[in-house]
């Protein structure tokens, strides 16, 4: 589904990603851990094409197509959906946007995400942390992407909201189907790993200073980080040297 090869990304002349390699197969969910400023969000931005990030080197290949130079909306149309960590407030009724994204069967998700009272409101205006996250997932549900990019979907969100959004994310990832039949993939950025109690990830990667330094089973990797801190990740036994 997604292949990232030796990706180097700059912001204002400063290298943020320093050669990232990552491969996500059809139906796979990967988690990315890492300290603040390690380049996790930049990686997602580079995949969807959000400025001001500039790809200096390397390739982003989605469904066999190199997408490095495609504009944002074309990448989205190809099937990439990003749930923003800090979405902006916009003078535009949520309903109008959802109509534009325009896929069917959305009403069911509006209900599941408890957004009935929000679609007539301006996007994110006066929304609480949990409401914003629910609004992001609702828009993703409207897009029905093949690759979900979830940037800290659980940050600033209470238990009840985590439960609500996880349930919908799992649906979007076709968790009701058998593993072999699942076609939807995801990258989840998480600080706490908390969301992984609700969404099963196949693999976790640790990103430090613009590089993926370790990849392994999510629970083990997380346990290792909690016990030994990020600085010891390099020595962790899951480090397969891919970085």
């Amino acid at each position: 589904m997604l292949k990232i090869k030796d990706l180097v990304v700059e912001v204002d002349g400063k290298e943020i990603l320093k050669g990232v390699n990552l491969e996500i197969g059809e139906g796979e969910v990967h988690a990315i851990f890492g300290p603040n400023g390690s380049g996790k969000s930049t990686l997602l931005a580079a995949i969807i094409g959000l400025p001001p990030y500039k790809i200096k080197k390397g390739k982003v290949v989605f469904k066999g197509k190199m997408i490095n130079k495609l504009p944002i909306w074309e990448r989205a149309k190809l099937g990439i959906g990003l749930a923003f960590q800090n979405p902006p407030e916009i003078n535009l009724k949520m309903k109008k946007l959802l109509e534009k994204i325009g896929k069917d069967g959305l009403q069911e998700y509006v209900k599941k995400l408890k957004m009935e009272d929000y679609t007539e409101r301006d996007i994110n205006r006066g929304f609480s942390g949990g409401e914003r996250k629910r609004a992001e997932i609702l828009q993703i549900a409207a897009q029905k992407p093949d690759l979900l990019l979830l940037d800290e979907p659980e940050s600033g969100v209470d238990m009840e909201n985590i439960y609500i959004i996880s349930k919908v994310i799992n649906e979007l990832l076709e968790k009701n189907k058998r593993i072999r039949e699942r076609k939807k993939s995801a990258i989840i950025i998480t600080h706490t790993g908390y969301i992984l109690d609700f969404i099963n990830a196949r693999l976790a990667h640790v990103m430090i200073d613009g590089k993926i330094i370790c990849s392994g089973p999510p629970k083990e990797v997380l346990k290792n980080i909690k016990e030994n801190g990020y600085e010891n990740c390099e020595k962790c036994r899951w480090n397969d040297g891919r970085a």
Binding site: I48, L50, P51, P71, I72, W73, A76, K77, L82, F84, P87, P88, I90, N91, L92, K93, K96, L97, K100, I101, D122, Q139, A142, Q143
Partner: protein, 355 residues
């Protein structure tokens, strides 16, 4: 904007400015150039050509500043309407009026008077449009709102690139009267200059909303004046303005001349391309114990918001138009739902059509 000149097309064009025969309406008035094309009487309102009203009534005086255009109206008035709602009558369906400037180079000179007797209520939709290539529209409109009456007046303009527009209006609000004035101008015009003035007695309320989209070298100079002369009088002047390769001067003056008067002015502007927005808000207080405030913010299309919409698979042009649409979308307090919808429709048809 190209405008079809056949009759069917004309009705559609008139619908854009709120003159919609398919809608339930109390009464209507339509003038083309200097000629009254339609006057439909209502059960609950009195409506007649201004000429007749001058003979029948002792009409109130114009309270705004006198200038060459008011002089022009007094000397060369061609037509206009007089509308009066009897005491205590609540008119549920709107009165629709429209002025069409049809002949190239024509100077359209009008005088309108609206009187609401005590505790009367009326919603008006007033459309103005031009199919003429160039021309002039000069007018005086007077509103006289007696005690406890309530008028909403929604004016939708659709001029042409070479049309010059000088409406002059004044409103007198007796005790407890309410005046909600909405001005929507979304298509280009060479020049629009409009500054209605409202004089408010005790506990009267005047709200002015302007939704303006100036493009293609248009030059708009618009605003409102509210004189809070009675104790507890209140006024709001609120505008949303987009200047795209065009110039807009947005003025406002609220005078607090009596105790417990309250006034607020708010202007949000968006500049696109070589646009200019100049806001001139003025507050004047001549007694103590009044509350007057203003806020203004001018920005551009926010890149972050644009990217956000594009990340949903919406291309750049469409994302821009969505943001413009959203920016102009103001829910006007105290205006019946169907009129808020008419404004939304005007925005969809006129502001969005050419993006």
């Amino acid at each position: 904007m190209k405008i079809a000149r056949n009759a069917g097309g004309m009705m559609e064009e008139l619908e854009k400015v709120g003159f919609d025969r398919k809608m339930a309406r109390e009464a209507s008035f339509l003038a083309e150039d200097d000629f009254i094309k339609e006057i439909k009487k209502g059960k609950n309102v009195e409506i007649m050509p201004i000429e007749e009203a001058f003979k029948e009534y002792d009409l109130p005086k114009f309270l705004g500043k006198k200038d060459r255009y008011t002089k022009l109206v007094y000397e060369k008035r061609q037509t206009g309407y007089f509308i009066r709602v009897p005491e205590g009558k609540h008119v549920t369906m709107p009165v629709q009026t429209a002025f069409l400037l049809k002949s190239d180079g024509f100077d359209q000179i009008l005088h309108n008077v609206i009187v609401l007797e005590e505790n009367a209520r009326l919603d008006m939709v007033s459309g103005c449009m031009a199919t003429a290539f160039n021309g002039l529209h000069a007018s005086i409109t007077q509103y006289y709102l007696k005690k406890g009456s309530y008028l909403t007046y929604t004016m939708i303009h659709n001029w042409g690139r070479n049309v010059r527009v000088y409406p002059r209006s004044s409103a007198y609000l007796e005790e407890n009267a309410t005046f909600i004035s909405n001005y929507v101008a979304l298509t280009p015009a060479r020049k629009i200059e409009s500054m209605p003035v409202a004089i408010l007695e005790r506990n009267a309320i005047a709200r002015f909303y302007s939704i303006l989209y100036a493009r293609e070298n248009s030059n708009f100079d618009v605003g409102a004046i509210a004189k809070l002369n009675g104790k507890g009088a209140r006024s709001e002047i609120i505008s949303r303005i987009i200047a795209q390769n065009a110039k807009v001067v947005s003025r406002g003056l609220i005078e607090g001349n009596a105790i417990q008067a309250k006034g607020h002015m708010e202007c949000s502007g968006m500049v696109i391309g070589n646009g200019v927005i100049h806001t001139i808000p003025e507050l004047k207080s001549s007694v103590d114990n009044v509350e007057l405030s203003h806020e203004a913010a001018i920005g551009k299309l926010a890149e972050e918001q644009l990217n956000y919409l594009m990340a949903r698979g919406i291309d750049e042009e469409e994302a821009k138009s969505l943001l413009i649409r959203g920016f102009l979308d103001v829910n006007i307090k105290g205006l019946p739902l169907h009129l808020n919808k008419a404004i939304a429709r005007a925005i969809d048809l006129m502001a969005m059509a050419s993006i």
